[in-house]
């Protein structure tokens, strides 16, 4: 039975990819369908199958889905890395994928960094525990592609992903984006801070925290860039952002405590600068904290993450099916449920496929329209400047 299925998908794949003579293929397909043992046991067929298994598709197509699903189910497993359940609704995403395809997940190092993800691809090469897919910051996606760590794949919805957010060679694809936001504890903070300028007021002394250190965390770099936009800097000049935090550290407003769900729940970080999707998730997760979220109107800055597939991962088909799922309308809506703006957001808003209550839970679309994204070069520049100045000015 299994053999039959495999040959069927092989048939579909060949039809899609190699566009062989249609009639010849049909004949072959019929032979396979009839279960002709001569064909299915022949050396040629076995060799073809081995080659096909080792050589997953380059492009997702509606026709190829069936084959991809079959091959992924045969692998039966997907190794993920650095996907926390409470980050951009990955918990819900993974549960939905499991339910839809019956493929199990081997979860590894949920709070790992992008560096740890790329490193795992290198150091676990050939190991059955190696990650199949990664979700990394853009600079790591570029570095990983350059180092040959990723396999190429174009999801079937590739066309509807904004041009600036994807690699034209298919090594990585931007998956979701967020904007820097101010979240605050309604019990401990009386007046809503709406701008970066507000946060410098003395009423917020000992209250302002960031999600991590800008020396090691992309989200924290984004916060400093947003602060720079609010203080006369630009995407090319993060200096005013660094000076802004130096000022807040001196006045005691900025507390160098890394925001985590625990510090939000306990009230240790009454105000937290973080991605909107993290802050919005806290609203639901910790009702007792009366967490409220807004975008700082003087510094609207956004950043995205990238999805890539391990070139030498142990489950190449499952990894591609996972990507197809992530970039399907269903997957994109699941991300939005985690308050992350999915890559195909504008396409889906245009086609009116996003449920209204979901859009209503986000801060107003008007402020999101002002969002600025930094280019790779600008991010590298900002990281270098932060590295050179942060520890002596703020630390």
């Amino acid at each position: 039975m299994e053999d039959y299925q495999e040959q069927e998908y092989e048939f579909w794949r060949r039809l899609d990819e190699e566009s062989l003579d249609r009639r010849k293929l049909l004949r072959r397909g019929l032979a396979a369908g009839a279960g002709l043992t001569i064909f299915s046991l022949s050396d040629v067929a076995l060799a073809t199958r081995a080659r096909v298994l080792a050589d997953p598709p380059l492009r997702g197509t509606p026709g190829g889905m069936k084959a991809l699903i079959a091959a992924a189910k045969k692998e039966g497993k997907l190794n993920d890395i650095a996907l926390p359940d409470d980050w951009a609704n990955y918990g819900g995403m993974i549960a939905a994928f499991k339910k839809k395809y019956g493929i199990d997940f081997a979860r590894d190092n949920p709070s790992g960094s992008s560096a740890a993800e790329n490193q795992a691809i290198v150091s676990l090469k050939g190991d059955p525990r190696a990650p199949d897919c990664v979700d990394v910051g853009p600079s790591f996606a570029v570095a990983g592609a350059a180092a040959g760590l990723y396999g190429r794949y174009f999801v079937s919805t590739y066309k509807t992903i904004p041009r600036g957010m994807k690699d034209t060679r298919g090594f990585w694809t931007g998956d979701y984006w967020g904007a820097v936001s101010i979240g605050y504890n309604g019990n401990l903070v009386q007046n809503a801070p709406r701008t970066f300028a507000d946060l410098a007021k003395s009423e917020y002394k000992n209250k302002v925290a960031i999600n991590g250190s800008p020396l090691t965390s992309n989200s924290a770099v984004a916060v400093v860039l947003a602060a720079s936009l609010a203080n006369g800097g630009s995407l090319n000049n993060v200096g005013p952002g660094i000076d802004y935090f130096a000022k807040l550290r001196k006045s005691g407003n900025y507390i160098p405590v890394e925001t985590t769900p625990q510090t939000v729940a306990s009230g240790q970080t009454p105000i937290s600068l973080d991605w909107d999707y993290n802050n919005l998730a806290y609203v639901k997760e910790f009702p007792a904290a009366k967490w409220k979220v807004g975008l700082p109107s003087d510094g609207v800055y956004g950043g995205y993450y990238c999805q890539a597939i391990n070139a030498t991962g142990p489950h190449p088909f499952a990894a591609r099916l996972w990507q197809e799922f992530l970039y399907s309308d269903q997957g994109q809506i699941l991300w939005l449920k985690g308050f992350a703006h999915p890559a195909r957001f504008t396409d889906m808003v245009g086609r009116k496929v996003i449920p209204k209550p979901l859009l209503a839970a986000l801060p107003s679309a008007a402020i999101y329209n002002k969002v600025k994204f930094a280019s790779q070069g600008q991010l590298t520049k900002a990281a270098a400047q932060i590295k050179a100045e942060w520890s002596s000015k703020v630390g």
Binding site: N206, I210, T216, P256, K387
Partner: protein, 273 residues
């Protein structure tokens, strides 16, 4: 022999890798760039300054307090059960570090710690509004002292035990007062041990990472080990060779300490030869 193999694998080989890596560029060739970068970058120099300062302060303060406490607790005449209870407690406390220690400090002295809340709500005096914070240098020094003092007690106790009752009796028979005893007998005998113990404390604080990192979330206080951590495992940039160069710089600092220590040790032990 097994010990030699052990040190080779876990001490000398990693140290050698760091030394070589410190002089390699990103593409593999040999270069001095990593090392000269440290000398030229203000934030990296600043990190060394902070690291050395914290290590010196906690080694001297921890050494002094540890010595006094140990002397009070184990000099002749103290009941035996106090001594053993003390040694056990010090053994536990000296090994209490890292994340649990940082957590304990945050839970007691953090912005919403028990002590802070007590001061703020009962006495209406919130230390955080008067310049105090544990998420900075003071906090890290306090936390380090928590394990530095017991460590000092542990390592200095045998030396204090070696200070014989008879010497002090003999010196007072010859007409010396307590001060003269300490000036001419007690301290000279203990000095080499005190110095050695403080060097140990210095190294202990200099290399500590987890306590400071979890207390300041890696942003509150730039220490060399924290910057090495950022170089090796961050989301923003990775620069392993700079990390190795920073580690090499730590070797140099410790080596300088030893260079300072050895002649002093020689001088201090001259009388015993």
């Amino acid at each position: 022999m097994p010990f030699f193999a052990y040190t080779l694998v876990f001490l000398f080989l990693p140290a050698a890798t760091v030394m070589v890596g410190a002089f390699q560029g990103a593409t593999g060739g040999y270069t001095f760039d990593n090392v000269t970068e440290i000398a030229q970058t203000a934030s990296l120099r600043h990190a060394y300054k902070e690291s050395i300062e914290i290590s010196l302060v906690t080694a001297l303060l921890g050494g002094l307090l540890g010595f006094l406490i140990a002397y009070a607790a184990i000099r002749d005449g103290t009941p035996n059960w106090i001594r053993s209870a003390f040694a056990t407690f010090s053994g536990v406390a000296a090994n209490f570090g890292g994340i649990p220690l940082a957590f304990a400090f945050i839970a007691t002295l953090g912005t919403i710690g028990i002590v802070t809340q007590f001061l703020a709500n009962q006495l209406h005096w919130n230390p955080y509004f008067h310049g105090f914070t544990i998420f900075g240098k003071t906090g890290v020094e306090l936390a380090y002292l928590y394990f530095q003092i017991p460590l000092m007690i542990l390592v200095i106790a045998p030396a204090i035990d070696g200070l014989r009752q008879e010497w002090s009796e003999a010196s007072s028979n010859l007409g010396a007062n307590r001060l003269q005893f300490w000036r001419h007998i007690g301290l000279p005998v203990l000095f080499p041990s005190l110095l050695g113990a403080m060097i140990l404390l210095f190294g202990n604080a200099f290399a500590a990472y987890a306590t400071a990192y979890s207390l300041t979330s890696g942003t509150g206080l730039p220490l060399v080990p924290i910057l090495i951590g950022a170089d090796l495992s961050g989301n923003v940039y990775t620069n392993p060779h700079e990390g190795q160069a920073l580690a090499f710089g730590m070797f140099v600092v410790l080596a300088a300490m030893m260079l300072f220590y050895i002649p002093l040790q020689r001088r201090a032990t001259r009388w015993s030869r």
